[in-house]
């Protein structure tokens, strides 16, 4: 596994004008939840133009499918669909998700996201904490349910801040 440089992955995606929303536990961490993760999950816009931009960044990151011994590279046909592309890159593991949470894609999640600044003037869209909590609640998977107490407490603490 490559050394994790999750912030740098997000920076490269943003610098490459890729339209995406950060979801999963990376979103929770960005909102301040004291949890950890070993990958970054993003839901990308599946328009041909955006997939082309995403592919350029993935090439820069030398992205390959992490469970495929052939070091298969993602291509347009993979990224325009609703499926989950589980990749490993020179900066860590990156999951490019066509949809999450009952087939919700980028356009839907965009309205449930907030903008966060990165160093250098770049910004990324991150699924809001309430939306992340709702998605994990709906999923019902044990790993998602296990994260809920910390995410809910983080939301409460956030609301109490001036």
């Amino acid at each position: 596994m490559a050394r994790a440089r999750f912030a740098e992955i997000l920076r490269l995606l943003a610098a490459g004008d890729v339209e995406f929303v950060v979801v999963g536990m990376a979103a929770g961490i960005l909102h301040g939840a004291p949890v950890t993760t070993v990958d970054v999950d993003v839901v990308h816009c599946r328009s041909p133009e955006n997939v082309a931009r995403l592919l350029r960044v993935l090439a820069e990151l030398d992205a390959v499918y992490r469970h495929d011994p052939r070091r298969l590279r993602p291509d347009e046909s993979h990224l325009v669909g609703p499926g989950h592309q589980l990749l490993t890159t020179t900066l860590g593991d990156l999951d490019c998700l066509g949809t999450i949470d009952q087939d919700r894609g980028y356009e839907h999640l965009l309205g449930l996201s907030v903008e966060m600044k990165l160093a250098g003037g770049l910004t990324v869209r991150v699924l809001s904490l309430p939306a992340l909590i709702e998605a994990k609640t709906r999923s019902g998977r044990p790993k998602d349910l296990a994260a809920l107490p910390v995410l809910r407490a983080t939301l409460e603490e956030t609301k109490q801040r001036p």
Partner: protein, 62 residues
């Protein structure tokens, strides 16, 4: 001989753990950081964990 209890100023503060077992102080510490600083803290943890795994090899979990 009975050891006297520590004076109040030597007692650690009670942990701020909520009913779900979540440490609220950890959350407040994370909220003091910028989003990017939060992510970098996780990177540091993952890197340290990987280093320890490499040092110890891929041993089965007992």
């Amino acid at each position: 001989m009975v050891t006297p209890p520590p004076s109040d100023d030597l007692l650690p503060a009670a942990p701020d753990i909520d009913a779900s077992g979540v440490d609220r102080a950890q959350i407040r510490a994370m909220l003091e950081l910028t989003p990017e600083e939060r992510l970098r803290q996780v990177e540091d943890f993952v890197e340290a964990a990987l280093e320890i795994r490499e040092l110890n090899g891929a041993r089965p979990v007992r």
